[in-house]
Amino acid sequence: MLTRRGFLQTTALAAAAAQTQPKRIAIIATIYRLQSHAQHMGDRFLVGYPYSGAWHKPDMKVVSLYVDQKPEGDLSGDRAREFGFQVYPTVAEALRCGGKQLAVDAVLVIGEHGNYPRNEKGQILYPRSEFFEQCVKVFEQDGRAVPVYNDKHLSYSFEKANMMVAASRRLHFPMLAGSSIPVTWRLPSIDLPLGCRIDDALMIGEGGSDAMDFHALEGLQCMVERRRGGESGVKAVQLLEGDAVWKAGEEGRYSKELLTAALSRSDTPLGLTVEDGRTQNLVASGELRKLAKKPAAYFIEYRDGLKATMLMLDGALKDFNFAARLQGVPRIQSTQFLLTPDPNVTYSACLMHKAEQMFETGVAPYPVERTLLVSGILESCLTSKLQQHARLATPQLAVTYKPPQKSQFAQS
């Protein structure tokens, strides 16, 4: 068993040795197929990506790949042949490149897409924590740990997510996770001022639960975490569906003014706009209720008293928009998180730039606690749904952290 001191020394020595060589990357993925997350994110380390007006090629080499499933259209073998790396049958072998010791400087875990079962909450059981645990096991056995990026939420289970973050703290390796939404372009290009006082915040999106709701929740979280005092954690959540969502609006549980503001940022209103191109004030006209036939509201009560709402409005729009009212600021702050078009999905280049930055510097550009908290908010909201939409106290979500000082979204 390694002592902590020995562990740190080994890590430091290995880091010093690795400084002259391009960093060696292992990719641990569910599947590697065209337009899967692993492909469009992993490829950024193989063929480069646009950054700040130039085609940027990371000074890093993908040396190994593990894919959990090889569906039709699998590209793992083709990529390995073309870019000169191996596909290994296990996570451990990928991290050791077939040898006996950890042989990479960073790990990209991309557990999105592929054929996995769903649980009773409707969550897809992607094996992210399982992949991660296998990485941690190698780190522990080999006495060295390297930075890990985990795509999207950490796990469908907050308990597992918490264990993942705990492992990164225990073994002192930097960790980054989450969605592209916090780091993509914004229209307009704004952030909430650090230390602002938020009266009310609202996010709107679409795409159903345990796929796109995570993205929307992280969009909301990356904004509200900038409030005075930083993130305090969440004390309760509630998920409402159907007419109860509109009723909650009538009762003032979320602001119609913020809803109008968020919708004013949308480029994708549906219904009459699709029919004949017209612009619409969906709230004032009442069309919103007609279009969003199965709305869902995710109510989040933070421990410092802030209340925020995320509305999934499938059928009414197809993009992700945020609005907030700040104390002492007359105009509502609102913006669209721009999800750039297929197939380039340049937002994933924005995200991989952050992973690359962490691999390069050993410092995560923003805290993994954001994604930990959002993983927990999502799971608890889905539990609320399962428990007849009850308000659930969430003492486990006392996740506190400070937001990054510098805005992290695409601006250059």
């Binding site: 209103p269 612009t279 509502i332 721009l338």
Partner: protein, 399 residues
């Protein structure tokens, strides 16, 4: 006299169907649009609409039925006089885009913008009064007529705005060319056809380069390259390849050069395969600045700008982002900043930005067409000695 606080507008359009320019503009005036974090209703009334071609897919009747305060008028004069003998509106919006109009031997669509303008001016003259005018896109396909439109606005002293959405839409990144910059080369990579999107590419460049030291000085010559001559010019380095590459790195719509990849930088061979009909307009301003507009349909579907600024070796670049309603979005919201800018003119009587920009890009579009028509030879443009100063304030969409 009408309420000065709430101007009355007449819209003069070629046709109004779903996704036509007239639909985008008229609907924003009638139904409002998202602006500054609310649904903005323009503080003015569209009181009359003239439609030159009412087709089977017409939407103007539906709009008029839903907005009875807007009268459909069979003639331009009636739309402007509202059935009286004199000009009875406070502003005119001309949208001469889309509709079935003949093309000439040079490939220019003969949209009747000049004809609309002339009929409008007759009402102005007969009424002894003129009001601010916005003209969508370029002024006219015919340079002489475009120049007359401009000269008439000056002679009669009415505020005149025109042009594309490209100068005023979002940018990714959201940056402005610093006023007074020294620019030696500027370039736009975009897509679309001749006498169509080339105008948008030229406005993309012009709204940036007009901010250079000394302001706009006019253009001396134009040289177009198409097909094989385009590839030859690229090989010979007629325009700076680093600027072209930088512009391509701003694109969100780069066609994957290889099967199995979603985003990969293309080689010249890839470009040749992907772009069957490339067009370049290369032109020189009177102060020596050289600009290049590249239409590369098949490679990109957006408008990307790059330039050498203030002696920097690294290109300065951005994308003029259009949320194009091609399936991913449903609203052509780049019309919102266009409408918002011209709203200001109707409220203040002053153009939000100089129409000379569009006079010049109108001339450049026609010059590009002319150079192509003359066998891709250099076309001298002494008539484009157009000087003007840009607005100090940025007018693109940032809020």
């Amino acid at each position: 006299m009408s309420d000065p606080v709430r101007p009355k507008l007449a819209a003069i359009v070629t046709t109004c169907f779903k996704m036509s320019h007239a639909q985008h503009i008229v609907d924003r005036l009638l139904d409002g649009y998202g602006w500054n974090g609310t649904h903005h209703y323009p503080p003015m009334d569209l009181v009359s609409l003239y439609v030159n071609q009412v087709g089977a897919n017409d939407l103007s009747k539906e709009r008029a039925a839903r907005h009875p305060a807007m009268k459909m008028c069979p003639t331009i004069a009636e739309a402007l006089t509202l059935g009286t003998s004199k000009l009875a509106v406070d502003g005119v919006v001309i949208v001469g885009e889309h509709g079935n109009y003949p093309r000439n031997e040079k490939g220019q669509t003969k949209y009747p913008r000049w004809e609309f303008f002339e009929q409008m001016v007759k009402v102005f003259r007969d009424s002894g009064r003129s009001v601010p005018v916005f003209n969508d896109k370029h002024l006219s396909w015919n340079w002489e007529w475009a120049r007359k439109m401009y000269d008439t606005s000056r002679e009669m002293g009415f505020a005149f705005m025109a042009g594309s959405s490209l100068p005023v839409t979002w940018r990714t990144p959201s940056v402005e060319m610093p006023l007074g910059s020294r620019i030696t080369e500027a370039l736009c990579v975009c897509y679309g056809g001749v006498d169509s999107y080339d105008f948008h590419g030229l406005e993309t460049i012009q709204c940036m380069v007009e901010r250079r030291r000394g302001g706009e000085t006019g253009v001396q010559w134009m040289q177009a390259y198409r097909g094989d001559k385009f590839w030859e010019a690229l090989r010979e380095g007629v325009w700076p390849r680093p600027l072209m590459d930088a512009a391509l790195c701003r694109s969100h719509t780069l066609t994957p050069a290889r099967a199995g990849f979603n985003h990969i930088f293309p080689s010249v061979e890839d470009m040749r395969r992907l772009v069957p009909d490339p067009v370049a307009y290369r032109y020189q301003h009177a102060d020596g600045l050289k600009c290049t507009m590249l239409l590369m349909s098949g490679l990109v579907k957006d408008f990307n700008f790059a330039a050498y600024v203030d002696g920097g070796r690294e290109p300065w670049s951005t994308q003029m982002y259009l949320p194009m309603p091609d399936g991913r979005t449903t609203l052509a919201n780049f019309f919102s900043p266009l409408v918002n800018n011209f709203e200001k003119m109707y409220l203040t009587g002053k153009p939000a930005y100089p129409v000379e920009r569009t006079l010049l890009t109108t001339g450049l579009t026609a010059a590009g067409v002319e150079s192509l028509y003359r066998g891709q030879t250099r076309f001298d443009t002494p008539h484009l000695a157009i000087r003007y100063q840009p607005t100090k304030e940025s007018t693109f969409w940032r809020t």
